[in-house]
């Protein structure tokens, strides 16, 4: 009974002037990123510009969108763009893991959260979004200007060829003088976290018929 008017309202909101301006701005941002990358470093710079635009445009869209489902799906662009940046940086294994874990796992988890909670289409307040963007953007720009003015990036003189293979990472995980302790700790953390998640997320039925099952469930 509530659904049809809400859907109509959302459809009207889609034709909103502000959202048209926002989408036009996103398209302009893509052109700017591509042009800047092309002028800075040729075709590879254009690819970098495309991935950077995917990352930033996806997260901007996530903040902007009214519906939680669309925000979650716009994170797809962010995670995919990050995987592309990893590939550009020569981290092939990380790019693959990013796609597998973020796009395949974490995004699916967020979508489960979206589906199991009610939507609230009037939760986004445009002035608050704009004020947040302006304030945090100004703060970040100020900090970035300070850092860029004072930092000395010690980039290696002759960049090594990016040839990190998955086997190298595997050796790093398992070699006794490298990361094996952290690897085992990560295994323990994952086990504990997943068991705890299952334990926390189960439906409690203490208030249904047996009041004494609260103590049994808690023990």
């Amino acid at each position: 009974m509530q659904a049809p008017p809400r859907r109509v309202q959302e459809g009207q909101a889609e034709m909103d002037l502000s959202s048209r301006i926002f989408h036009a701005l996103l398209a302009l941002l893509l052109l700017a990123a591509l042009g800047w990358g092309l002028s800075a470093a040729g075709p590879s710079g254009a690819v970098f510009g495309l991935f950077a635009w995917l990352v930033l445009g996806g997260s901007l869209l996530c903040i902007w969108e009214r519906s939680v489902v669309r925000s979650a799906f716009s994170l797809l662009a962010t995670f995919g763009g990050t995987a592309g940046l990893f590939a550009l940086l020569g981290a092939d294994f990380l790019a693959m893991a990013q796609v597998l874990i973020y796009v395949g796992g974490i995004l699916a988890l967020i979508l489960f959260g979206v589906m199991l909670t009610p939507p609230d289409p009037f939760e986004r307040k445009l002035p608050r979004v704009l004020a947040g963007l302006v304030l945090v953007g100004a703060g970040a720009a100020f900090l970035a200007a300070r850092v860029a003015g004072g930092a000395r990036w010690a980039v290696a003189a002759a960049l090594p060829q990016p040839q990190t293979r998955a086997a190298e990472l595997g050796v790093g995980f398992l070699a006794a003088d490298q990361y094996v302790v952290a690897f085992e700790l990560a295994a323990v953390v994952l086990t504990v976290a997943l068991v705890a998640a299952v334990y926390i997320a189960r439906r409690r039925r203490v208030d249904l018929e047996r009041p004494d099952s609260a103590s049994a469930g808690g023990a």
Binding site: V55, S59, A72, T78, F86, L94, V136, A197, A201
Partner: protein, 100 residues
């Protein structure tokens, strides 16, 4: 592309994650903002690894960040569902007591 470009993208993504946490009144947006922030940290790790003195330390750190992000997402989703069952709302300000 140089190191500065990657660091700039990472800083912008971090700022957008902060904005996402601050301006939306829904716990799920807090989760999404945290994922953005972790991704920004990962881009930094991998970029400094690439432009540093070689080795795979930065990439190992990124792998551990991804592992922790997966664990965090699972636990956070469980907490979100519990908050919704308890308070019948997904506003971050709704969960204002630990037990009745």
């Amino acid at each position: 592309m140089g190191l500065e470009a990657y660091v700039a993208v990472s800083a912008a993504l971090f700022a957008l994650g902060i904005v996402c946490i601050l301006v939306r009144r829904n716990v799920l947006y807090v989760l999404m903002g945290i994922e953005m922030i972790l991704n920004a940290a990962n881009i930094n790790f991998v970029a400094f690894n690439r432009f540093g003195s070689g080795g795979i330390d930065g990439q190992m750190m990124a792998v551990f960040v991804i592992i922790l992000a997966a664990a965090e997402a699972a636990v956070a989703l469980a907490i979100v569902l519990n908050v919704f069952y308890l308070f019948h709302s997904v506003k971050p300000s709704a969960a204002d007591f630990l037990r009745e």
